[in-house]
Symmetry: D2
């Protein structure tokens, strides 16, 4: 077997995958960042020992994160991305020919530079003049924008971890702040961590319920991501209920054809429908959820030891 990554999926469950070649490994101010050719997943980005994306299915994650909200919106021109340093989220936003400006705020400039250098599929996105890349704290930055600055806000953050700062960005307060920055009919979407039969109640369910306190309509959706070893969840919310009506298969295919450049690999009208067909079990959890997240009452993905390295991030953020 020789070189491997061993990732803790949950307590008592580890995934071991071979490293064919470690392409780069660096310690940023905040985290350990690595790019490796792996046996089962191809080229992967691994941060603090956790799989972030892989050749084999990063498109699944990024297409699901970006397109449902951008396609639902009648004419999205301005997009804010919180996090997203890898570049895949910006890449998918910039496929939308109508998008005029993408502001991406990631706290870790080293990660961004690292991904620019090591993930060729995102090179063009980083060079796109419509992208404004800011290295800073996403919360501080979005607070500085005037009201109604963005048509879509996409939160592409690390999972909320005890001791890390990201959980501040999965709270009712933060979503209320974001809402004031949306244009009328605007949409906020956030990744919501693992959403499988066992994991969906940890983060996704309380985040989804928290968004429901802020937005008139919230749509949760999910999709299996092989290299994450689970299903994954997202929720999008808006005060414009009509905008968030689920679109028909034909309408999605039509909008993709009209608005996007290049071909999507995963998403089309058919698979779009599937994202929203949650199981009876998942819908029950989401419906019965009562937790509303705040800085005082956060939700965490786990207290897995794999994540302990993130604890120092909080100290690095003097303003919080």
């Amino acid at each position: 077997m020789s070189k491997c990554f061993i990732e803790e999926i949950e307590e008592g469950l580890h995934l071991t995958y071979t490293i064919k070649k470690l392409l780069n490994s660096a310690q940023s101010k905040f985290q350990q960042v690595e790019v490796a050719e792996t046996g089962p997943f191809g080229r992967c980005l691994i941060i603090d020992g956790l799989m972030q994306s892989s050749d084999i299915d990063e498109h699944v994650y990024h297409e699901c994160l970006v397109h449902p909200s951008l396609l639902a919106h009648p004419n999205p021109k301005t997009v804010f991305i919180g996090g997203g340093g890898e570049g895949g989220t910006a890449r998918e936003c910039l496929r939308h020919k109508g998008v005029e400006k993408v502001v991406m705020v990631d706290i870790d400039g080293d990660v961004v530079n690292f991904c620019k250098a090591n993930l060729p599929q995102n090179t063009a996105a980083f060079a796109d003049p419509r992208l404004e890349l800011i290295i800073d704290d996403a919360k501080a930055r979005i607070e500085g924008y005037p009201p109604a600055s963005f048509d879509v806000i996409i939160m592409d953050l690390d999972d909320p971890i005890e001791g890390g700062p990201c959980y501040w960005l999965y709270t009712k307060d933060f979503y209320e702040t974001c809402k004031t920055k949306l244009t009328p009919g605007g949409i906020l979407v956030t990744q919501c961590s693992a959403a499988g039969v066992k994991s969906h109640s940890l983060v996704w369910s309380p985040v989804n319920n928290t968004m429901k306190q802020v937005f008139k309509k919230v749509h949760p959706y999910s999709q299996a991501v092989y290299s994450f070893c689970d299903e994954w969840g997202w929720s999008m919310g808006s005060d414009d209920e009509a905008t968030l009506e689920r679109l028909s298969e034909a309408e999605i295919d039509k909008r993709i054809g009209e608005r996007l450049s290049g071909d999507l690999k995963f998403l089309d009208g058919c698979s779009y429908q599937g994202l929203f067909c949650l199981s009876k079990q998942h819908r029950k959890t989401l419906a019965e959820e009562t937790r509303v997240l705040s800085v005082e009452n956060p939700a965490f993905l786990s207290t897995g030891t794999s994540n302990k390295g993130l604890g120092h991030v909080a100290n690095a953020l003097p303003s919080q």
Copy 2:
């Protein structure tokens, strides 16, 4: 960590999960069979080192295998199960109040007895007078039935493995034999192994195409199964195209309400829709598939070393 199972998902990818208590372990004539309380998955059935089902999500697999075809059929009374020794497939069939007879043919009587003793959720099914349990080779047995004996045939077999006998049951010849045993409007459904972004072309795609050579209409569908560490695929086929029309969410919920006893945990009208919303990438693979499986040209899940123990099964079957 202490005691663990280590399972090879594919070459270079291993899943390690803790054993809290090994409840039973036995060598049948064909395979090594174990029941364990595991850390992440609860009580599990493991055969030859491969996860067969777990407390956490065996209902996902079994509800997806059984109900789409039985609900699609207007009035299923007789069901044939090939394999299924664990008992979960029979249990789900017997939820259908209209089902009068379930014939289940599994080759490994030791597994059946083992599961009867160790999987309490299936005890009632094994005791149901509508179940006829036969320990024999499924192929030999179904050949012995007169034409038009079953409304639904469910193949709940091990994955096709090089050197094992199961691949004989994933061939055009076998499906043609089965078709003659179906009543008019009858449906055959088979589990089709892993169906993820990377695995779906190995078995599912050629099996689906092989069924298309035999049945006028074939519906592939898939669902993530956490304890299998991937999405899973099934295909159902019928010569009655109307029967296999996808039913509406409301119609599925109605039929579940009218026909089934007890509550399903995973499947309902909404999640039923999701099963069929395959991704663009998956549909492309299935559409472009040209392989037609036969004993001479089989498909195998993998040549992973985990599976090598099955090689002796072929020798144990003199008639093949």
Copy 3:
């Protein structure tokens, strides 16, 4: 790979070994006890996930623990064993035809019964009328004996672990108590945990120095034990310096021939010499050691998570 034990040797170093058959597994009042046929080591006793002994080399450990002191003593008739519930230590003591009484005090009666039932090589020892087996706390019991009760005292304890009671038995106070129970010329020997190039300073070195505060002469010795994945250390001490003089190869072979029944597999005059030929590096550590262990200042093998399960043992000992 299927079923395995995964043992943490030290932080960042794990040993994974296959389980062919788990023969028995039970939770005693104090610990999790298991006997398994393993791939690399044959039948093994594993307590709280840590290898205790294996078919392949339990004789190495037990012959090294017992015979150097019993052979050094001119005529050992009475032996006290602290711990030793597995039975191998008693077995080796009882090989000495001159030994008239072996008192073995182990706190865990379940382990003793478990080993009686599962380790056939120790069956005869448990049935030997010279063995008095007491289930109790070794410290409390030895305190109850009159002075000069034993010719040799053998401490065959678990490694000292934070939160466990065993570290009380690796202290100056305890060794002083033991010394009063020794007959003139008597010897105390204790297992001292891992003694490799990296581990020997953790427990062995401070224990050895602690014994030097109590006994006029102390002899440390070590030997590689494959299934422990390291070298192992022992120290024996006596106030009779002549008794503890290292014996010649010929004298050891002579005494073995005269005093023992049955054949030793590992130890003879030649390998006896090797036990005491510590490396320059080891001798330097032992010579420079200044720690003297007490209940207030104990030494621990590690704070490895594997060991955390032992914490409740302390609570089970009301008198301490």
Copy 4:
């Protein structure tokens, strides 16, 4: 755990150790060569996934390989090293102030360059003018020397592996060739692979017996090496029985003091004695050994899958 090496020690036994930083990784013409900072072992050299040496104990291996024969010889001036590309063997030879010339022949120039660049403890040795470094096949080269060219020949080769060329260098024919190149009283020593309670019969025992067919006197010796996860064996042979008499502790300390520059960390008179004190069990195996190795009847360490990558080496050696 994140990044790890997983090494197969034997079938069913794996050692997993964390990688803190992968310093270098390269594919030579013959093998995959890596230097990593590891958690448990410090900086390590790993070739084809197998630990070659580590900060924590490479001195144990190299001091044991080199000094027993050079100290036994009355006045060694010329030394031949077969293999040894890492540099540690040359380094220890060059400590001997009386040594005038060390010829080192390693087949893999890339490994040599890699180790020069990455193992600072060997830098001085590579720069020593007494070292003649030749990149070639050791067998072909030594055959080209006139008789009586070397006082000591040290074989520091990879373990003999099926399909690899090294097993040609563990044969009677090869030792006979070497003997003709020794000066009167000259000594040949070879590393003999794992020498533990379970492994010592695989390679060490037949190699030792093969040497006994060629040399009048052969001394086997062993020592635990933690990072190799076992004891390790060496054998040295000479036709001068007096030279190979085991030296006293005092004589070894005297010769070390007189002849060597710098301090040894592991070896001195005391630990030297321990190397030769083999256990009863080991001596029995060695004494009863009947195998005599030849190209037609070689011995292999194992057929572990970890080693399969070496198979192509044979093809790379046109002359064999």
